[in-house]
């Protein structure tokens, strides 16, 4: 029976990996991801999960081990955060370039210096271009559910790409939430066994990760880009079927109270739920505002974003990462670019905040929406404005 239990989100993610029947977990512990891999290690040690747990000496080795296990067709899971993801950075490109469907939970955390173990999206944005499918989750249930979706999407023959599930460090990983922990039977119905089409096999030798001279590299990258872009169809299909089986439906962008709104705020991750409360409060006061919760980060949902903003006047984008010396928030800059060629488009106002674990409260999001609307009205938009910084 499906049970709804109060459980720490990290532990629910570990249970999801177990229910996904992973074959190999290769991971190195790092705050705030630790509880996920600790639990998996205990499950393997106790025999509850029939898998190999590879206790590697670094994240570089963790991801390298994942390459090997995914290459033989084993269902492969890992998790990391922040500096750990930076240490495995070069291997992330190999995973996508070799089209290996590894699933990685990322407990989003700020990057040093100064040392910060707290959450933001600096680590996400530093791996933006690594060619992985990347999904932000808003709460614990989404984190749990999307582990299954990630395997289903990544292992699909039409995709064969690694998938990151981004869950905010501490604000999600370390909170106890009521989560429906699903039955094995239902999970098995949704998630077929992994059948990698060209695994390493002595009876059918292949060469993986070979040299790509100039007369082939461009074609390989074009193929990789096309498959990542077109994976959106498979993602939509998987989310639809997930909803049909489990009753919870997901979409690239969640439009929250957008009906009739002329001003929309865009956020991603756990902050979206706080922002929803701000929208509720402002709606109660008679303001026609709404929220776009961005779930699908790669492939970037161009069509859905253009559709969502076609009738609005102002789009305020709140980023939890900063592109130093550049356009400010990475999400805002991509959204702006996605809208640039349209004849009719909203004014786009960017804010950067919530860095290194800094809380943005309900009142904070209200202030962001009000300030963003005022800036758009005055026509004084700049690249971005930093929110909540002491002057």
């Amino acid at each position: 029976m499906t049970q709804r239990v109060g459980i720490e989100v990290s532990r629910a993610v570990a249970i999801a990996a177990r229910l996904a029947n992973v074959d190999v977990v290769a991971a190195y512990p790092i705050t705030p991801q630790t509880h996920i891999v600790e639990d998996l290690s205990e499950m393997v040690a106790s025999g509850e999960l029939d898998a190999s747990y590879i206790p590697v000496e670094s994240e570089h080795s963790a991801m390298s081990s994942c390459l090997g296990s995914a290459a033989v067709g084993a269902r492969t899971f890992t998790a990391t955060a922040s500096q750990g993801m930076e240490l495995m950075h070069e291997v992330l490109y190999v995973a996508s370039g070799m089209r290996l469907p590894i699933v990685m939970a990322v407990a989003n955390r700020a990057l040093s210096a100064p040392i910060s173990i707290w959450g933001d999206h600096s680590d996400v944005m530093s791996v933006r271009d690594t060619g992985w499918i990347q999904i932000f989750v808003t709460n614990g249930q989404e984190a749990f559910d999307n582990i299954f979706c990630a395997f289903r999407i990544g292992e699909d023959r039409r995709v064969l790409l690694p998938v990151m599930i981004h869950l905010d460090g501490f604000q999600l990983t370390h909170v106890i939430e009521p989560i429906y922990l699903e039955d094995q039977d239902k999970v098995d119905k949704f998630l077929p066994p992994n059948e990698y089409p060209l695994p390493l096999d002595p009876d059918r030798p292949v060469t993986m990760g070979a040299f790509g001279p100039p007369d082939i590299y461009t074609e390989v990258k074009k193929a990789q880009d096309v498959v990542l872009t077109s994976s959106k169809e498979v993602i939509l299909e998987a989310w639809k079927e997930f909803g049909d089986i489990f009753g919870r439906y997901y979409s690239p962008i969640q439009c929250y109270r957008c009906e009739g709104a002329k001003v929309l705020l865009m956020t991603m991750g756990s902050f979206s739920e706080t922002a929803m409360s701000a929208v509720d409060a402002m709606r109660d006061d008679g303001n026609a505002v709404g929220l776009l919760n961005l779930r699908l980060w790669r492939p970037f949902p161009f069509a859905e974003i253009r559709q969502a903003v076609k009738d609005i006047d102002v789009l305020i984008v709140f980023d939890r990462a900063l592109s130093f010396g550049g356009p400010g928030g990475p999400v805002c800059s991509e959204v702006r670019s996605a809208l640039y060629n349209l004849d009719k488009k909203p004014k786009v106002v960017g804010f950067v905040g919530g860095l290194g674990g800094r809380v943005v409260s309900l009142a904070g999001f209200r202030e962001i929406i009000e300030r963003g609307t005022r800036i758009a009205k005055e026509g004084t938009e700049q690249e971005f404005e930093m929110f909540g910084v002491r002057e």
């Binding site: 370039g97 064969l160 030798p205 292949v206 993986m208």
Partner: protein, 96 residues
């Protein structure tokens, strides 16, 4: 588009550029990197085979008469054989 003849399009690339044919590196003509070519003075060659041992490409073998010569399909023209040859039987010349 130039020099596309016989080379795969992006649609024809195997998943992750996996190579399904074992030993296909044999088809890779590294000889077209070459700017210098080895020439041989057989009267000085003592058939010791050191050039073959030092060749990083592994493309030097004895011919029918036992003289060691590079396979120019693979020889990159690095000149290591000429440098290592005891009797100075190998001389590098510019490719035309």
């Amino acid at each position: 588009m130039t020099e596309s003849e016989g080379k795969p399009t992006w649609q024809q690339i195997e998943i992750g550029a996996i190579i399904t044919e074992p030993g296909s590196a044999r088809q890779y003509q590294t000889g077209d990197w070459r700017t210098q070519r080895p020439t041989y003075a057989h009267e000085r060659c003592i058939k010791c085979g050191l050039c073959s041992i030092y060749c990083p490409e592994g493309c030097i073998e004895p011919n029918e008469e036992g003289y060691f010569e590079a396979d120019l399909f693979y020889c990159k023209g690095c000149g290591i054989c000429a440098r290592e040859c005891w009797t100075k039987a190998i001389n590098m010349v510019e490719e035309e």
